[in-house]
Amino acid sequence: MFGVMRVINLAHGSIAILAAYVVWSLAEGLEISPFLALLAVMPIMALSGWLLQRAVLERGLRSGQLVPLLSTFGLAVVIDNLLFEKYGADTRSLAPNVGDLAFESWNLTDDIAVGQLAVLTFAVAVLLLGGLHLFLGRTTLGCAIRATTEDPDTAELVGINSRKVYAIAAAIALVTVALAGTFLGMRAAFDPYAGPAQLIFAFEAVVIGGPGSLWGTLWGGIILGVTQNLGSQISPQGFLIAGHVVFLLILTVRLLVNSSDLLRWVGSRLRLSE
């Protein structure tokens, strides 16, 4: 979503971890399901997104592209260290709070089993991206968001309040970040400084899939995740390396081959094979 807004948000990972901590606090403190806690956190994150856009990014954008980038970097440092101050260095996880879901799986055959949480995560990701895709493509507000990101000055000239549109986009973006953080927390463990590492994965997924494309991002995430897990099969340290290698490979190919030509080529192949 920030890709849609053409703002590079270096605090993306940190905000996801922040959301995971807030969900964890609610789930532990009130002894409720993390999913319920997430429902409560989502509107708070939407409001934070609105404020972040109006108070920080919008002011930054007036002084050029670099200032919002730097402010999100600063924000990431602030969030990481505030989390450290509040929660300490202990590693947390939401897995204990979701009970059996954390380790239950469905056996497809005797040899292949898929984790229920993994399937749920994937389904939510697909639904979220599909929903966003429909929202951006079909609704008037979605159109206004696309128009504004393309040319904010002209959008204003046809009666669109570009500041409001950006703030709505930022609110939606942070809701998706909250979802991401919560699912990360359920699947794995997190600590206050886990944000930047997640940011790298997010960036790699976006770049592999092609910036500005929602479905591309999903594909990027799948490619990255599968490669990482194949890498860890080869060597325990292969997890990160394999991910980075495939990212660099695809980045190189993208730089060498015009991506739209490539897509057209792939598209024509697919049509031939049908």
Partner: protein, 239 residues
């Protein structure tokens, strides 16, 4: 009361003062042609009226209300719409979306999708095509249609014939006549004097940021306007 009243307007691009103390009034129903050479300040004046450019001095009143400090989307909602130079379509949106997105948050009025398509029949065939895939004439028609969808009380048109094939210019002007026949108020910036004079009821000429000639179209001969256009008389009187 005039519909649009500009008083002592100054506008700058950094150190360059593009508009110098311009005052003009536009009445409801006028077709006002603003002519002048490249760099005379026509586009900046139009953009300042629309709110896309911030003036350094002077005031703009619309329908009696001071709109000088108002953001452009609010001015659109009051009824000032602009077709920017170079058309500036949303290239990733289809023609239909370009039109709809403009009509969404604006004044109620006579203009809707159907009426735009009736006035610009060449758009009917390409509603589902993206703004970036259109010919120049179709793009210009979409841009004007997009502005009309906001139901403007005054329509600011910047360089509608720029970069278009002559036949496309004819089509766009034919369609504009439909719009004018519907009783629109239009401010038209045009470098092509002949075309501007054909449709306009009033003409003003800008030279180096100032208005050097302003009056009913019939009050001037073409030669007088040409002189003002190039600043001949002024140079002559100085020499």
């Amino acid at each position: 009361m005039s519909l649009l009243e500009v008083r002592d307007l100054d506008a700058r691009h950094g150190l360059l003062q593009a508009v110098r103390g311009v005052s003009l009034t536009i009445e409801e129903g006028e077709i006002f042609a603003l002519v002048g050479a490249n760099g005379a300040g026509k586009t900046t004046l139009l953009r300042t009226i629309a709110g896309a450019h911030t003036p350094t001095a002077g005031s703009i009143r619309f329908d009696g209300a001071d709109v000088s400090g108002m953001r452009s989307f609010k001015r659109v909602q009051m009824g000032i719409a602009m077709v920017p130079e170079g058309r500036r379509l949303f290239t990733g949106l289809t023609v239909e979306e370009n039109l709809k997105v403009a009509g969404a948050s604006c004044r109620e009025g006579a203009w809707d999708m159907e009426r735009v398509l009736t006035s610009f029949p060449l758009l009917r065939g390409c509603l589902k095509r993206r703004g970036g895939d259109l010919s120049g004439g179709q793009q210009q028609a979409t841009a004007i249609g997009r502005a009309l969808m906001t139901n403007p009380r005054v329509l600011l048109l910047d360089e509608v014939s720029l970069g278009l094939a002559p036949i496309a210019v004819d089509q766009v002007y034919d369609s504009l006549r439909n719009v004018i026949a519907g009783g629109a108020t239009i401010v038209l910036v045009e470098q092509e004097l002949g075309r501007a004079l054909l449709v306009a009821t009033r003409v003003a000429c800008m030279l180096e940021g100032r208005i050097v000639l302003d009056g009913k179209t019939g009050d001037f001969t073409r030669e007088q306007i040409t002189e003002a256009y190039f600043g001949l008389r002024r140079v002559g009187s100085q020499g």
